[in-house]
């Protein structure tokens, strides 16, 4: 009896101690949170604010503490005015210089480092986009900080959640760095809406780094369809489409009928059925639309990594054992060359 009582007592003792420790640490956090401040990196293209980059502000607000937005380029004023309408931001910092127009990391990283140091930021957030992926690690190395990539949740100011192994495992990590550098998954932090606020806009420091690289050209797919990463509906085609002609003939009309963006599996891209930039998966885009319709896609783990957070997944495949059916909310086993045109017609006429 006695040992048990002692055990109980000591357990209760631990609990009390644990609670006071937690209390102490939360007080510690609170006292520190007054010093917490975040720089949210916004993107512009040809002077236009990239709306999706406002996700960085959403994440910044989640961290607590003041949030400053950051924009650089030759014509940033109208993008800055747009961003200034987002509620919950203390100020927008801009640097006007055409050296930053194309987001070359060799110029942009020193620029961010200067502004981060000047503003004494404890957190720096950017989207896990081509821009964020190329610039932020360079910034992190210059600040001697271990970046945390593709964050899907913020638990507190130093604890972050991110997928690893193509989303087959979820890691919760605690950063010990003084400056925490994060890239965030856009689908996990909806872009803040510019409405109502009129945040002050201030000029930041121009680092004027010696250019060591040069932008030559770009070739971006032009499309009137919704943007793949932010679309509410996505129709994706895979190897089952058999050719580019069939991909165009089958997938695009369905996407148009639904008002959806078009995506593709790696197999479809590798076979030349669709453009590289449409690839959904671990090494392509990560999407989380309301509806993801997978047509002729078997559902390899690398593909699932890019779409399994979609709200509703529908699959059309002739192989009843295709792994895609294990994640699909609704599956139709059949020949996509018959079923998809039928589906397109019925959606159009409804």
């Amino acid at each position: 009896m006695l040992p048990l009582t002692r055990q109980l007592l000591s357990r209760r003792g631990d609990a009390v101690l644990g609670r006071s420790l937690r209390w102490a640490s939360s007080r510690y956090n609170n006292s520190r949170s007054s010093a917490l401040s975040t720089l949210a990196i916004l993107e512009q293209r040809d002077g236009q604010l990239v709306h999706g980059s406002l996700s960085a502000i959403t994440a910044g607000i989640k961290l607590g503490g003041p949030v400053h937005g950051f924009l650089a380029g030759s014509k940033v004023s109208s993008a800055a005015e747009q961003a200034a309408k987002v509620k919950g931001v203390e100020k927008i910092i801009t640097v006007e210089n055409d050296a930053y127009d194309k987001g070359l990391p060799e110029n942009y990283a020193p620029l961010l480092v200067e502004n981060i140091k000047k503003g004494n930021y404890t957190h720096v957030v950017a989207g896990h986009t081509a821009f964020g992926k190329s610039v932020l690690p360079r910034v992190a190395a210059l600040l001697d900080s271990q970046q945390i990539s593709d964050v899907t949740a913020i638990e507190d100011e130093k604890t972050f959640v991110r997928p690893i192994y193509a989303g087959n495992a979820i890691a919760t990590v605690e950063s010990t760095d003084a400056i925490k550098i994060l890239t965030i998954r856009g689908t996990a932090f909806p872009a803040a809406t510019p409405e109502g606020a009129s945040t002050p806009i201030e000029s930041g420091v121009d680092a004027k780094a010696e250019p060591i690289s040069e932008w030559v050209s770009e070739d971006l797919a032009k499309s009137d369809r919704p943007d793949l990463s932010t679309a509410s509906k996505v129709v994706s085609g895979g190897r089952g489409l058999k050719s580019k002609e069939e991909f165009d003939r089958i997938i695009y009309p369905l996407a148009d009928a639904l008002g959806a963006a078009v995506g593709a599996s790696r197999a479809a891209v590798d076979s030349g059925y669709a453009d590289n930039s449409l690839q959904v998966g671990q090494t392509g885009k990560v999407v989380a639309p309301q509806l993801y319709m997978a047509v002729g896609i078997s559902g390899a783990i690398q593909h699932l990594a890019g779409m399994k957070d979609s709200k509703v997944i529908a699959a059309i495949n002739k192989d009843p054992d295709a792994p895609i059916f294990q994640v699909a909310d609704v599956g139709l086993v059949g020949d996509l060359f018959e079923k998809v045109p039928e589906l397109t017609e019925k959606i159009k006429s409804s």
């Binding site: 194309k102 060799e106 990283a109 986009t129 081509a130 821009f131 992926k133 190329s134 690690p137 360079r138 992190a140 190395a141 210059l142 900080s145 271990q146 970046q147 990539s149 690893i164 192994y165 193509a166 989303g167 087959n168 495992a169 890691a171 919760t172 990590v173 605690e174 950063s175 010990t176 060591i212 690289s213 932008w215 030559v216 050209s217 770009e218 070739d219 971006l220 639904l258 590798d270 590289n276 930039s277 090494t283 509806l291 783990i301 399994k308 709200k311 509703v312 997944i313 059309i316 059916f325 294990q326 909310d329 609704v330 599956g331 139709l332 086993v333 059949g334 079923k339 039928e342 589906l343």
Partner: protein
């Protein structure tokens, strides 16, 4: 044009076709008895380096291709694969089984290796398929103060040490140019890696493979991130199948997706 001295960092990871399982203690992913291979993006880096030499794409020629790996004793197998594909020699920084380095530490290690090997071009994979961080190349370029081109789908060499790289970006491609020395990371569309042939595998056994430790480079495995836990992602339940297109539309309406 300077002759190229290429450094190719490669990583041993769980094979891409294996579905990883989280261990019971929720500290990581089960690696014991699981098939490992070279990170697919590193395969592309090795292939590209060898092709630059074979196709004589660089005006100054290729003087040296060094494959580099920091990993457990078994990472040597990955280095041997790189040597069998055509790399000249290997450097293995041996870690304990199960020991992992964070990208920042790898970048610091690579910076010292670049200096030691007098490399003027580093070709890395854009990300490792285990940690999915996608940071090492950019961090290395930052530490060295070199230009970087990430997610390369095409690499061309011109006069005066100029390197033109087509990069995959959101929505299409972008082309940038810089001068050697530089850092490039590879994307899937860069090339199709070869299989090492048996005679080449035999030859690779005779190639030089230097063994080193982190201490040789004056580094320790300093962790900035503490992994609190690793869990399984929420499992989706398949919702079953429908008979025909009308059933599909009906179900989608019921789920509020149409």
């Amino acid at each position: 044009m300077s002759a190229l001295r290429i450094l190719v960092p490669v990583k041993r990871v769980i094979d891409y076709a294996v579905k990883p399982r989280v261990n019971k203690a929720q500290t990581g992913v089960e690696t014991a008895g699981v098939k490992h291979s070279m990170n697919p993006f590193d395969d592309l880096s090795v292939e590209e380096s060898v092709r630059i030499r074979e196709k004589k794409r660089a005006p100054g020629g290729v003087e040296d291709i060094v494959a580099f790996s920091a990993g457990p004793p078994k990472a040597q197998e990955i280095l041997r694969t790189a040597l069998a594909m055509g790399a000249d020699r290997g450097v293995h920084v041996e870690l304990k089984e199960g020991e992992e380095l964070e990208p920042l530490t790898v970048a610091k290690l690579l910076k010292k290796s670049v200096e030691e090997q007098k490399s003027n071009l580093v070709i890395l994979g854009k990300q490792s398929i285990d940690d999915d961080a996608g940071q090492t190349g950019q961090m290395l370029a930052g530490l060295l103060g070199w230009p970087q081109a990430t997610q390369a789908s095409k690499i061309e060499f011109g006069a005066d040490d100029a390197v033109t790289v087509t990069k995959e970006v959101d929505g299409g491609v972008e082309t940038v140019r810089a001068k050697l020395p530089m850092v490039i990371t590879t994307d899937l569309r860069l090339n199709t890696p070869r299989y090492a042939t048996l005679p080449n595998i035999m030859k690779a056994k005779k190639k030089k493979l230097d063994k080193k430790t982190l201490e040789d480079f004056g580094l320790t495995n300093e962790k900035r991130l503490k992994v609190l836990k690793v869990t399984e992602p929420p499992q989706r339940q398949g919702g079953g199948k429908v008979e025909d297109v009308d059933g599909l539309i009906g179900k989608l309406k019921e789920l509020g997706a149409l």
